[in-house]
């Protein structure tokens, strides 16, 4: 259970940081709070799935790739919703960072999650 908690916490932090990069885009700066919250929620869900997977799968590479796949899938679901102001979809802008955050959560859970459990 602690491994799952580790993955969710890391997902929340990285998701929030990823969402905060929206500050650099003036056109969406007024929606920053919502973006950070949704990005964080997306990564918490990714963390939950990665954590559950990591409890049963001991191979570091498999957990890392699972994190990548989950991050990519959840980011795709988010990217399906168009920008309310322009109606545009930002698939690349959302999916690539989302997949990378999933990759990092997957690797960190496999590599450091075990240590967190042992230390607890």
């Amino acid at each position: 259970m602690k491994k799952i908690g580790f993955a969710m916490l890391l997902g929340a932090v990285l998701g929030a940081l990823d969402g905060m990069t929206a500050w650099f885009t003036p056109s969406v700066r007024d929606q920053l709070g919502t973006i950070v919250m949704l990005s964080s929620l997306k990564s918490v869900i990714a963390g939950l799935l990665v954590g559950i997977f990591a409890v049963y799968m001991k191979k570091e590479l498999a957990v890392t790739l699972f994190g990548f796949a989950v991050g990519l899938l959840l980011a795709y679901l988010v990217a399906m919703a168009p920008d309310p102001n322009t109606g545009q979809h930002y698939y690349i802008q959302i999916m690539i960072p989302g997949a990378l955050v999933g990759l990092i959560v997957g690797y960190a859970t496999a590599r450091y999650g075990k240590r967190a459990v042992t230390a607890a």
Binding site: D18, T21, A22, F24, T25, S27, V28, Y90, I92, Q93, I96, P97, L100, V101, L103, I104, Y107, A108, R111
Partner: protein, 289 residues
């Protein structure tokens, strides 16, 4: 026809004369496998248990110190003694487990990777630490006295010079591995073996110039015993710290050493985060979000 015997024939005759008479024992002699300053070692068959054993025959006729010490040291890294007896000619012998391996100094090339050699060294330290815990100091630790089995098992051999901790004794040991206090005939303790372990680590490092490992060697081989590690387990702990990418206690690392160590330990995580930052930065610069 020449009246002179060849060197080989002389060697065979010498071996036949030297061969112990084990007829009154349960051991059947096979061949001689070694010869040291205190006696010879023979490969024999234990007829009762149908297994090969090493029979060490001492040139002395007093009770074997090594056998008594080994009997106190039951550890997977220390060769066990099965039996002790006396030959008809008065010489003492004892039967030990026959280790089908090669001495470390001949087998070191099998462990090409430094971490493999360091893990092997840690196992030597653990066996020596066990002996220290039982109050025994080996006094002749060197690669020749560590046997490595075909499955990587490690056994510390040749406890013929071993003494109780704090005991003074005759000057004996191997130059290069013998600490100054032992060379001077002074009292020895666990730190005397620590010196030899430092010399053994230096041998195992070979071409490696890793500063933390050299610091471990330097601390273990300090001329003043008070500046060395307190025991073998402390040496092993510092080597394990190096293997785990942690800070080695013997090494006073600067910030560049620390950064290099942390980078080596978390290389993949570093590059994953760097990739994310580069991709994010590029997207902000090129796509505007």
């Amino acid at each position: 026809m020449s009246g002179r015997l060849s060197d080989g024939a002389i060697a065979r005759l010498r071996e036949a004369v030297d061969a112990p008479d084990l007829s009154a024992t349960r051991y059947r002699l096979i061949e001689r496998v070694g010869r040291g300053g205190m006696g010879s070692v023979w490969l024999a068959e234990d007829a009762a248990l149908d297994r090969k054993v090493a029979v060490k025959v001492l040139d002395l006729d007093d009770a074997p110190n090594e056998a008594r010490i080994l009997a106190r040291l039951e550890h997977p890294g220390i060769v066990p003694v099965h039996d002790v007896g006396r030959l008809p000619d008065g010489r003492v012998f004892y039967a030990m487990r026959f280790v089908e391996g090669r001495p470390l100094h001949h087998d070191v090339e099998r462990f090409r990777a430094l971490p493999a050699r360091l893990r092997l060294f840690v196992r030597v330290c653990e066996a020596v630490a066990f002996a220290h815990d039982r109050g025994v100091i080996h006094r002749d630790l060197k690669p020749e006295n560590v046997m490595v089995g075909p499955f990587g098992e490690v056994l510390v051999m040749d406890w013929g010079l071993a003494r109780a901790a704090g005991e003074g004794s005759e000057i004996a040991g191997t130059p290069g591995f013998m600490p100054p206090e032992q060379a001077a005939g002074g009292a020895v303790d666990a730190r005397s073996d620590v010196y030899a372990l430092g010399a053994m680590l230096r041998f195992l490092l070979r071409e490696s110039t890793a500063k933390p490992l050299l610091s471990i060697v330097e601390k273990a081989m300090a001329a003043d015993p008070g500046r060395r590690y307190a025991g073998a387990i402390e040496v092993a702990a510092d080597v394990n710290r190096y293997l785990d990418g942690l800070r080695v206690e013997a090494h006073d690392e600067g910030w560049t050493d620390r950064a290099a160590r942390l980078y080596a330990r978390h290389k993949v995580a570093f590059w994953l985060v760097a990739t994310y930052l580069i991709v994010r930065g590029t997207m902000l610069a090129v796509l505007g979000r």
